[in-house]
């Protein structure tokens, strides 16, 4: 990767919801090893911005470039590089903790063995609940499955929407630790949050969206 060139470049992006314009002419870059925190009051369009970057929502204008290549030219490659965590956990209530993690990694085409899954679940404190259906887990425990997924997914760019919601202090600390490791490896993160994230080694910048 060439130094000085941003891995993710977003130019002139705009999105409206119904008749209301959420944001327009927004430009930002994210460099390897960097965390970009998206901030702003409720309803200003943080979630929509993240969804526009992932490609879930179609922006009304704007260009997104990933590693020097326009995303619409090769969306499959971009999808392979991102790990998205939205408001909705994407877990099935009827599958066990372990199965949920296994299926979400298979969907990301990440091959991991059962030991790695067991270790990742142990790291987030769910080793005793591996065989429980997800419906029996608390909101925070569900979030922890998401943390285990992030730990095992080699995706280069994390796009996370309020990742600390419902997590207790230990869970939040664990998330910051994971984020720090990700940034130290040269990963990128685009995170919408109201919390102050301070990963020790990573560079943190802020993007403010006016309400």
């Amino acid at each position: 990767m060439t130094e000085g060139r941003a891995a993710l470049e977003v130019r002139d992006i705009a999105c409206r919801r119904g008749p209301a314009l959420l944001f327009s002419k927004l430009d930002f870059d994210v460099f390897p090893g960097e965390l970009l925190c998206v901030r702003g009051p409720n309803g200003c369009g943080k979630t929509t911005l993240l969804r526009c970057v992932t490609g879930l929502t179609r922006p009304d204008a704007g260009r997104i470039t990933w590693l020097g290549q326009s995303v619409p030219e090769d969306p499959a490659r971009f999808r392979g590089d991102i790990a998205y965590g939205g408001h909705l956990p994407g877990l099935k209530d009827d599958l066990t903790t372990e199965e949920n993690l296994e299926f979400s990694l298979r969907l990301r085409d990440v091959a991991v063995d059962r030991d790695a899954i067991a270790r990742a679940l142990a790291a987030v404190g769910l080793e005793k609940r591996r065989r429980l259906p997800a419906r029996r887990l608390s909101a925070g425990q569900r979030r922890r499955i998401g943390l285990a997924r992030l730990a095992l997914d080699p995706a280069l760019l994390w796009i996370l929407d309020e990742p600390l919601t419902a997590l207790d202090d230990a869970g939040q600390a664990h998330f910051v630790e994971l984020l720090d490791r990700h940034l130290a490896r040269g990963g990128l993160a685009l995170v919408a949050t109201h919390h102050n994230l301070l990963p020790p080694s990573g560079k943190v910048r802020e993007l403010r969206i006016a309400g």
Binding site: R17, G18, P19, A20, R58
Partner: protein, 241 residues
């Protein structure tokens, strides 16, 4: 000339407003002429007597029901491919007129069917597929209004309309593909089996239906534009001015 000039809702709003009265006037004139030809000039049919005169309403509305669906589906294709706003509004504006013509075609057909076939309704291929067309129009209208975000409704309904296009050739060729009660086309490219005034009357009535459909769609698209763009400056200026 820049064709995209009129693809902006604000400019199209004005154009539609200027065109619509002319289209309605043309529709009225052609309808008067067509009905005069059909009801007064055209001779009585040797086999069917006077009742055949229903075709001057029935055939034009049936043609238009399919044609309008096709036009609507084309606008829907534009919506999905280019994400244009106006095309989605046009598709929405055409749908009620299309449904109306479909209903009129079915209704006049059954009034003709009672004295001729002895029944208001038969489940033959032509009638059934035309009924399916009516439900496709209803489905399109319902789906386009089923979402909080109108543009979500636009795109979902657009995809539905495109899936439903499969039905058009089925309606059109049903009388050839299946041995049905509904008679074959009276008009074809090889020549017609009917009196020339009958044919003229039917064609004139078809133009009338087309003018009416275009005028109605333009009036409807104007109100859709106003509703969608109510926060835009040009609409506010319109209100104050």
């Amino acid at each position: 000339m820049n064709w995209f000039y009129f693809s902006s809702p604000s400019t199209f709003y004005g154009l539609a407003g200027r065109l619509a009265p002319w289209l309605f006037a043309l529709a009225a004139v052609t309808a008067a002429w067509g009905l005069y030809l059909g009801l007064l000039v055209a001779p009585t049919d040797a086999q069917q007597g006077e009742v055949y005169r229903v075709i001057f309403i029935h055939v034009p509305t049936a043609w238009m029901s399919m044609f309008l669906y096709f036009v609507m589906a084309c606008y829907c294709g534009l919506t999905l491919v280019f994400n244009t706003r106006l095309s989605a509004m046009m598709a929405r504006a055409i749908a009620p007129t299309g449904a109306l013509f479909t209903a009129v075609a079915l209704w006049t057909g059954s009034f003709w069917g009672k004295p001729t076939w002895g029944t208001y309704w038969v489940w033959d291929a032509r009638l059934t597929s035309e009924l399916v067309l009516l439900f496709l129009y209803f489905g399109f209208i319902a789906l386009s209004n089923a979402f909080e975000d109108p543009r979500r409704g636009d795109r979902a309904a657009a995809l539905l309309a495109i899936i439903g296009v499969v039905n058009l050739p089925i309606i059109y060729f049903s009388v050839q593909w299946w041995n049905t009660l509904h008679q074959g086309s009276s008009v074809s490219f090889k020549g017609t089996s009917m009196h020339v005034t009958m044919l003229t009357g039917m064609l004139v009535m078809s133009f009338s239906a087309w003018f009416y459909a275009a005028g109605a769609a333009l009036v409807r698209v104007r109100s859709i534009i106003l509703e969608r763009e109510r926060r835009a400056h040009w609409v506010r200026e319109l209100k104050e001015g």
